[in-house]
């Protein structure tokens, strides 16, 4: 390989450099300190993707929401996220979620795909869910979409109340724009 030419020269320089600066064992690629020991490699932590959420069958959404199906929209890492909620007697179920471009294998993509966020939303009965580490922006988008869907449910409840007074039409449970706050920064 012709690359050997570079190798030879670089290593000559390496010896020179070591002579000038001393051997910093902590620096990248220096090996001795950086290699993992058998004890380290045997360390284990619980898998955060495998944690079961305690189900609370009695929780209810805060605020007055009308029964129905509502789809909210939020901004994710690289595209819109939608969350579809079924509201039944003040309790929500997350019945669907879509994404357009969340980064694969960082946690957020998998949490949408595997229903992790859906479980979190149902456990919280609203958008106040924990951030999934490694997926801050995706989580922000999911929260935004959930809040948007619930806002529609609240608007529908307000509309029903007003409609009972004969003063307003019930709004349709569909929304296509997220609220104005932007989840821009991680």
């Amino acid at each position: 390989m012709r690359t050997s030419k570079l190798t030879a020269v670089a290593c000559g320089a390496c010896a020179l450099t070591l002579g000038l600066s001393g051997c910093g064992a902590s620096f990248e690629g220096s090996g001795s300190k950086d290699a993992a020991s058998a004890e380290q490699l045997a360390l284990r932590e619980p898998d955060p993707w495998a944690v079961e959420l305690p189900a609370d069958g009695n929780g209810r959404v805060e605020g007055d929401v009308a029964d129905g199906v509502y789809t909210g929209t939020g901004r994710g890492m690289e595209g819109l996220i939608t969350v579809t909620l079924l509201v039944d007697d003040g309790r929500i179920q997350c019945v669907g979620m879509t994404q357009e471009g969340e980064s694969q294998s960082r946690g957020g993509y998998e949490a949408i795909r595997d229903g992790k966020y859906a479980d979190l939303i149902e456990a919280a009965q609203g958008p106040d869910i924990d951030v999934i580490a490694g997926a801050t922006i995706t989580t922000a988008g999911v929260k935004q979409a959930t809040a948007d869907a619930l806002a529609q449910a609240e608007a529908a409840a307000a509309g029903e109340a007003a409609g009972a007074d004969g003063s307003a039409d019930a709004p349709t449970p569909s929304a296509d724009s997220p609220s104005s706050d932007s989840p821009k920064e991680a």
Binding site: R2, T3, L6, A10, C11, A13, C14, L16, T17, L20, C23, S26, F27, E28, G29, S30, D34, A35, S37, A38, Q40, L41, L43, R44, E45, D47, R75, G76, M77, E78, G79, T84, L86, Q93, C94, V95, G96, M97, T98, Q99, E100, G101, S103, Q104, S105, R106, G107, I112, R113, D114, Y117, A118, G134, A135, I137, A140, S182, K184, E185, A186
Partner: protein, 612 residues
């Protein structure tokens, strides 16, 4: 674009892949038939893929082979973030613009941050648009910028390659020989002469570099250990802050959708999808700079422009974007292509996509590191494949080369795949392998571990994922493993028998012998096997540019107003450069290339377009 996925609670990956069912039943439809039905709705990995036609996932034994004539390996398009090679046509000049600037930079990764900061520093009113919700792109996950001479820290040590004092012409001559002359010498000379200067400029902007002990690379001062993932985030953060101080207007979550071209053929703006919802026209009065990465995650573009990567790579480790829209926009205005069939990858790409997993993987996902250890490795004929040691020891440069060279070794066998095999005792051998760089397995006690997505802080998790997905096959007998890896009868069992004999002797008779301390017999069930190839991290095919970073059309003439940096541009390491050497691609490595390209784009766009 129809990119939807429906969550599928209660179904394992294997379950819904086995069915191969589609999840086009959107949320609303599912809702109509009730929550139980929605929970039964079957999603599939990759069904949010931008344009990919959904297809089923083939069985393992099918994906072992290439086409009948052995030339081509077809990937599962549903597993890719994008699958579209069509040029994106430009838009006409609108009646009214939404935003005005001198220079619009597309992308806020390593290249875009530098381009925007440089243009703004030199006096251009600059807008920088970014599809993601944050800056830094894939650059922030890189580890080092290669540099062979001309950087101030090297001058202080009187180091330059091929000899001191630094001579960019001599470096160019050497590099052109490496590239077998299939490159543009003016472009290579530009990289050679400006690479060190671009790194020094970044230092002036606030990036703290530290020169490697082997002085052929720099890394951010406070992120120098192998396991410091997101090493380069210190640098991209500093460049973002510098751009902000100089008035760059950054627009996040606003992907570029098309270029705007006037009647004279000049590029005068960019159409973005602001907030993913609102189409906006940005008037770039002087220039548009495309620095939004390459197309590691676009299957159709890989197939067409880098067939060896499409065949040889089993995964990509760039998880952000890399879907190639900027390249397609350039094609849409008649740009030429350079760097055909050139790419860069590391060893140990795990073939998740063949089992229906995602194509793009977090680099430190545990399974990737496990696959990169010195296991018995064979091709589908049963031939041993050599290993390349990444321990620095006495030879630092070779240790860095090991990553790319081992990728070549794993990508080139028949069928473009390699097979690693080990037994139940594999965990006992890892400490003794002591592999460095990004082959190091992550453990929860490490310094800066908080930078790692939580799931991957314990390497066992990713390996468990791989076993669950049957990407890492765990079988009770070698015969079962052999069959399920898709190998012909006897191929694996005979190779293992021979290996075990060498282990018993304590001496490897292979032409590239493993050291005796790595000879671990494969005798204790369960047995493990995994099919691997390259792990793609850089596409080097891209838009043709001249040495002032101006995009050149198929006419041979510059497309006025349009600039491109790497990796939207091509040509940084010539054509047919399999692994992108030297220094893992293009004299500067891939993040260094992006940084330097952005710096050059900002410099030349102002110099050429802002004069009176």
């Amino acid at each position: 674009m129809d990119k939807n996925t429906v969550s599928a609670p209660g179904l394992s990956r294997r379950d819904f892949l086995a069915t191969g069912a589609l999840a086009t039943a959107a949320a609303a439809a599912a809702a109509l038939i009730g929550p139980d039905a929605a929970h039964g709705a079957e999603g599939r990995i990759g069904d949010w893929s931008a344009d990919g036609a959904p297809e089923g996932v083939p069985a393992s034994d099918v994906t072992n082979a290439s086409a009948a004539d052995g030339t081509y390996r077809e990937h599962n398009p549903a597993c890719f973030p994008a699958n579209d090679a069509s040029p994106i046509p430009p838009r006409e000049v609108p009646a009214a613009w939404d935003y005005e600037c001198d220079i619009c930079v597309v992308g806020a990764g390593g290249g875009g941050l530098n381009a925007a900061a440089r243009a703004a520093e030199l006096g251009a009113a600059t807008i920088c648009v970014e599809a993601l919700g944050l800056h830094g792109g894939n650059a922030q996950e890189a580890g080092m910028c290669g540099i062979l001479g001309g950087y101030s820290g090297q001058n202080a040590k009187q180091f330059a390659f091929p000899s001191y004092p630094f001579d960019p012409q001599a470096l160019t001559d050497w590099a052109m020989d490496e590239y077998h002359y299939a490159a543009d010498p003016k472009l290579i000379y530009r990289l050679a002469s400006e690479g060190g200067k671009s790194l020094d400029w970044m230092a002036d902007c606030g990036v703290q570099w530290r020169l490697g002990e082997v002085p052929v690379y720099v890394a951010p001062k406070n992120a120098t250990l192998d396991h410091h993932v997101l090493k380069m985030k210190d640098a991209t953060d500093a460049m973002f802050a510098y751009g902000q101080r100089h008035g760059v207007d950054y627009k996040f979550q606003s992907p570029a959708e098309a270029l705007v071209q006037d009647d004279d053929g000049r590029i005068v703006g960019v159409v973005i999808n602001e907030g993913f919802q609102q189409e906006r026209f940005i008037h770039a009065k002087r220039a548009v700079i495309l620095t939004a990465g390459g197309f590691c995650n676009n299957k159709a573009l890989l197939d067409k422009y880098i067939p060896t990567a499409a065949m040889g790579c089993a995964s990509s480790y760039l998880t952000a974007s890399e879907t190639g829209e900027c390249f397609r926009m350039g094609l849409g205005v008649g740009a030429d292509v350079s760097g055909f069939n050139s790419s860069a990858s590391f060893d140990g790409g795990v073939d998740w996509q063949a089992e229906g997993g995602t194509w793009a993987r977090f680099l430190y996902d545990g399974m990737t590191q496990l696959s990169r250890q010195p296991w018995l490795t064979i091709d589908r004929c049963g031939n041993r494949l050599r290993y390349m040691d990444s321990r620095v020891g006495e030879d630092g440069a070779n240790a860095i080369y090991a990553l790319g060279d081992l990728a070549t070794i794993q990508m080139t066998p028949p069928g473009h795949r390699s097979y690693i095999v080990f037994d139940a005792n594999y965990e006992d051998h890892l400490a003794g392998f002591a592999q460095e760089h990004c082959r190091k397995l992550l453990t929860p006690d490490l310094e800066q571990i908080e930078k790692v997505p939580e799931h991957y802080r314990d390497w066992h998790h990713g390996v468990a994922d791989a076993i669950e997905a049957d990407v890492l096959k765990r079988r009770d007998t070698l015969e079962e493993l052999e069959a399920d890896l898709g190998l012909a009868e006897g191929v694996l069992t005979e190779a293992v028998a021979k290996w075990n004999e060498a282990c018993e002797r304590g001496e490897d008779d292979f032409m590239y012998p493993m050291p005796p301390e790595w000879l671990h017999a494969i005798t204790t069930p369960p047995f493990y096997g995994c099919r691997i190839g390259g792990n793609l991290y850089g596409t080097k095919a891209g838009l043709l540019i001249n040495d002032q970073m101006q995009v050149v059309g198929t006419s041979g003439r510059v497309i006025p107003g349009l600039y491109a940096g790497w990796h939207t541009a091509g040509g940084a390491c010539g054509e047919n450069s399999y692994i992108g050497d030297p220094i893992l691609g293009s004299l500067m490595g891939d993040v260094g290339l992006a940084f330097c390209g952005g710096y050059l784009c900002g410099t030349f766009a102002v110099e050429n377009e802002m004069g009176d």
